[in-house]
Amino acid sequence: MANELKFLVVDDFSTMRRIVRNLLKEIGYSEADEAEDGVIALHKLRNSNFDFVVSDINMPNMNGFQLLQEIKKDEKLKRIPVLMVTAEARKEDIVLAAQQGAAGYIVKPFTKATLEDKVNLILTKLGLK
């Protein structure tokens, strides 16, 4: 069941989107789409069914915090777990993400093992794995 989950990878750098998608595929989640900022991500989330969002924070147009806030405000989307994968290493950002309802927080640069651990942990908590 878990392997059929559909992921949305949000990052303004195409290199990072490819890396995260490839890693997700390696750890068993091959269903993934991409968005280059929060605006595009929100549009895709509202027009398709996703089970998991992996999002950067520092992006143009709509950053990761704003995207997280929009997702949590939306009745249809608020249950989708959002894992922040970001270079923002300030403690206040981590606390803010947690307060806003992020399901997890990974600081770049990260490893495949870290991504795998966090994704599986979140899915286990939600009873999806």
């Binding site: 990052d11 750098f13 290199t15 990072m16 890396i19 490839n22 890693l23 390696e26 924070i57 520092n58 950053n63 915090f65 704003q66 806030q69 270079a87 923002e88 290493a89 300030r90 403690k91 206040e92 950002d93 981590i94 606390v95 803010l96 947690a98 806003q100 997890g104 927080y105 990974i106 600081v107 770049k108 640069p109 990260f110 490893t111 495949k112 870290t114």
Partner: protein
Amino acid sequence: MSDDTATTPDTQTPGNLSHDVHQRIGVLTRQLHDSLNGLGLTEKVKTWAGELPDAKSRLSYIARLTGEAAEKVLNNVDQAKLHHDHIAKETRRIGALIVQDPVAAVAKGHVMNFISDVEEASQEIDKNLTDIMMAQDFHDLTGQVIAKVVGLAASIEEQLIQLLIVTAPLDAASNRIAPEPTPAVQPPVTTALQPVLAGPAVNPESNPDVVKSQSEVDDLLASLGF
């Protein structure tokens, strides 16, 4: 700037020249000071003074990260090539054994050993390829840092052009268009929901406000009950 202090070189004594240079420097300094104040740039210059060393450490960070990424890629390519060479060599050896005596090649376990070797090498090569892919994350991290340094350079350039316009010599000034008053620099709107983002921590060891590793992130979140 007035031209009345100018004298021709052949009529100057060393003492006069020195006095003249000092006077000119004094005039320029006063003009620069007045212009900076007039443009409201004094505070800006103080900020630049603080930001330039930061820009320097950001550029060092880029050099370090790109260097490490290149090193990581080359090391992984070396390892993958070793595995690949081993498999190529073993393939030729097993091929020859099978041609020579297919039954013996299987019976003596050469074929099974080879299959096991291939599987092991494939896993190692796959790991090397993943590491090479992960090494490309420097593009994202350095891209963010470069954007910040470019922003600082653009800001300094813009303000220096303003300064140049205001302090242009009078003959040039007579032709110039009056500069637009410098708008007060508006700080980005920040709310609790949209903090000013800092980007990658280029020197986390010296900053207690940033985490230094993923385990610190996990500890912080755990302390908040997550």
